[in-house]
Symmetry: C2
Subunit: 493 residues, 2 copies
């Protein structure tokens, strides 16, 4: 199996196949018996749990509380907001019946036609509608605002083409839904949460992101503005990694949610929503991993350090364990997650390959000779560099190395993105350059028409109008009309 683990498709040969294989070989997830739905395996879920915990802490630190709203949404709720229904009605799972019965012909169970629902229910593709229908009862006065609520949940969108983590019919996510007394406060909230996402992406996932606003064509269905963080994968494609929406008063109007302001006048409530999902797992995998398997940033690695003993007999293992056990304890005391893998049914070579595929950041190996010489072999997963160092002071060295790997992954990803972000001035050049992947900064006249023409002809979309960077006006590369500033184009996941 060790050999098989190594037998990867290379990124340069077929990036997409490399990804699919990696997800399975690193034991992150697999296809289920249900079309488009995946099983997230324990190792993959452990990474997701680390993400969840960190994000949840950050949400709470910014004043948010968790709550839980129903999985099913009455069909009619979707239609209340005109744009929203256009965006979500087309791909949803519809519950029409509430009972099965024994097949009269004896073939298992069949739907009981007598148990048809009066109004069909939709499995939530997102929860704005059911939540704003609920907020109607929570909000009466300005004193009830703001409401800063988040939900961790599963959602369902009937996608035609699915890929594990990147696009699945069911996925796990969090969705924040906030309610505010003023436009300014809601806009500030949407930006605040975008900043939380970018901090999480960069400082924990080690994934550099560009923050910006979506063009009208790429907005969330029902939003006035959609803010986004966009990451670049190793194949040069963009991956939208989190979005935060300023919803204006659209949902308040659709569900008639008003409040009495300080002047005792009724006003519609202002809203935001924001979410990240298990898609982040895809971003994490595709940003750092290599032809040997997964590479994980230490801050999100379920196992940060693995220690493998190399021994000939029980006596040998005992001697190594006596040396290693205090180190394990010391590392745990420092909050480092460490696994001492002394299982005797697998050879060290197998273990090395397995932890390499699984992206464990630091591996220590201790053999008989190390005991004699007071040394230990240390390997870092990001560069695969290996060296033999003094056992004494190894805890400090491990801690330093974990920090270094975390920083190195970010720096490397950032350098890659910078190297593959180019500026283009003519549409002809654009059409050539887009074939190489990467981000292209180009002028655009601001119209959906031009955006769609570009998409149709090149498969590239506007990823965002970035907050930072060169803000010089210019002329649209397609129409020559005035452009307020360059925007980022890319092909994307």
């Amino acid at each position: 199996m060790a050999k098989e683990l190594k037998n990867f498709t290379k990124r340069s040969d077929n990036y997409s196949q490399w990804y699919n294989e990696l997800v399975v070989k690193a034991d992150l997830a697999e296809q289920s018996a249900v079309r488009g739905c995946m099983v997230i395996k324990p190792y993959g879920y452990a990474i997701w749990e680390k993400m969840q915990r960190q994000l949840d802490d950050m949400f709470k630190a910014t004043g948010h509380q968790n709550a839980y709203f129903p999985l099913l949404i009455p069909k009619s709720f979707l239609s209340r907001e005109a744009d929203h229904v256009e965006g979500f009605a087309k791909e949803c799972a519809v519950v029409t019946h509430y009972r099965l019965k024994n097949d009269p012909d004896g073939n298992g169970v069949v739907v009981d036609p007598a148990a048809r629902l009066e109004e069909e229910l939709i499995i939530r593709p997102t929860s704005e509608t059911i939540i704003w229908n609920t907020y109607k009862n929570w909000i009466h006065s300005y004193r009830d605002l703001p409401i800063l609520v988040n939900q961790w949940a599963n959602v369902f969108r009937w996608e035609m083409r699915t890929r594990m983590f990147l696009r699945t019919a069911e996925f796990l996510w969090q969705e924040g839904h906030t309610a505010h007394a003023t436009k300014e406060e809601a806009e500030a909230e949407a930006i605040k949460m975008l900043n939380v996402y970018s901090e999480f992406a960069e400082n924990y996932m080690a994934v550099p992101v560009v923050k910006g606003v979506k063009s009208p064509n790429e907005r969330f269905a029902g939003a006035l503005d959609t803010y986004t963080i966009e990451a670049m994968m190793q194949d040069g494609k963009a991956l939208q990694s989190g979005t935060s929406h300023f919803l204006g008063q659209n949902f308040a109007k659709a569900f008639d949610v008003t409040f009495m302001n300080k002047d005792n006048k009724a006003e519609y409530v202002w809203a935001t929503s924001w979410g990240v999902s298990t898609r982040l797992m895809g971003a994490l995998i595709m940003t750092h991993s290599d032809d040997n398997g997964l590479v994980l940033p230490p801050k999100l690695a379920p196992i940060q350090v693995v220690i493998v003993p190399i021994y000939k007999n029980e006596e040998g293992l005992k001697n190594i364990s006596e040396k290693v056990n205090p180190l394990v304890e010391e590392l745990r005391k420092r909050g480092i997650s460490v696994k001492y893998d002394d299982a005797d049914n697998k050879r060290p070579g197998f273990k090395f390959a397995d932890y390499e595929v699984k992206g464990v950041p630091v591996r220590l190996a201790v053999g008989q000779r190390d005991l004699e010489e007071g040394t230990v072999e240390i390997m870092r997963r990001d560069t695969l560099e290996k060296e033999t160092v003094k056992f004494e002071g190894i805890a400090d060295e491990v801690e330093r190395l974990l920090d270094d790997i975390q920083n190195n992954l970010f720096t490397k990803a950032l350098a890659m993105r910078e190297a593959r972000t180019i500026t283009v001035d003519t549409y002809d050049e654009f059409k050539k350059k887009i074939e190489d992947g990467g981000f292209i900064l180009a002028h655009w006249d601001g119209t959906t028409e031009t955006e769609e023409k570009i998409k149709e002809e090149t498969k590239a979309t506007i990823r965002c109008i970035p907050f930072e960077g060169d803000k010089t006006p210019g002329k649209c590369m397609v129409t020559g009309k005035p452009s307020a500033r360059r925007v980022i184009f890319a092909r994307s996941y």
Copy 2:
């Protein structure tokens, strides 16, 4: 509103109504627009999160890992295990279509008849079938065993009569699903997890439970044995609070999951499953709360201590805050969750009533006179006792009090259960006594027939055959046939 909060139905007048009101007034949950589904509000969800975190730690400490399996299950999977389908097919939500379209008549959206699924999908009522269908690919050899996996998820059962937390169509839970090489190991696992549940119920929820095994009639659909923890509510009714199932090889046979044992022979895998749900919230509420509202055991209280300043003007508040802020810090250092409520848009009386209804275990109040005299008023929610004590050393006092409240709640609930557990020898006496509520220890001949007769005539069921207690044989109170030992009867939620 303070007055309204106080305006409760009393337990003695209408226990059921008292419960329903309490859930709403303590801001725990509310009915949603979807029949049988509730919205768990932030305060209720914060309690559930504390439960989750503690249980999750206990599962991990016993070697379990989390994973995630699909929400939807192919209809045919349910039929694979004969008992299972009988138990679950009758009350499930069925997805038949995957798309809506605009109503040709212009009335919102309608189900697109062209988007009918070939095979209907069921929203999971429990996940044994989809999980064992997955385990088939994970298990080949004894080396792959045991599998110790847990899932935190939402499930759906189309209940006809629902009550918040106690019985809702959608509920949140965890479901452990383990796979083992031997019968003995699987049985030991089922018992181990029952013990985890009882430890959690007693040491964290302060809810005393009886551990035992269910009669065949009350078993989980598909199990060979169902173990249970049963709690007694203040109205004397039983509440099944957690179950752990020894599934034998039933699901392995249904999904053809075999492994090569050490002798290289194929054997079917042995299984357990075990779960607790948001129903525990109902148990928590109904065990401790009183006519003034919620009473929470400190270990699960989102806010353990609230401090309310009583002041006339800004200067007064400033002086109090100067005194209180270091205390807040000190309590937080000790890991105590404390809220200093200096909001100036609510009067102290309102705050007192609100935190009382919400069951905050300890309340401190600090006024101008307290500052002068170096005192503080301290109130414990469980007994509503109030006293004025020295401010100096208050952190120690609070810590001691939280422990005391935790213990007192358990002791009180245990005393109640003991006082209301009686022994009965004749069916006539049983019929009278069951009207008073409580647990009745009586002899039963071990047949489903007798059990169902008793249920029909008295609405009482066998809650469990307890592991502990008097094991003297006797004669069935109904049929006079031999009985191995007394079992626990009660009416139940």
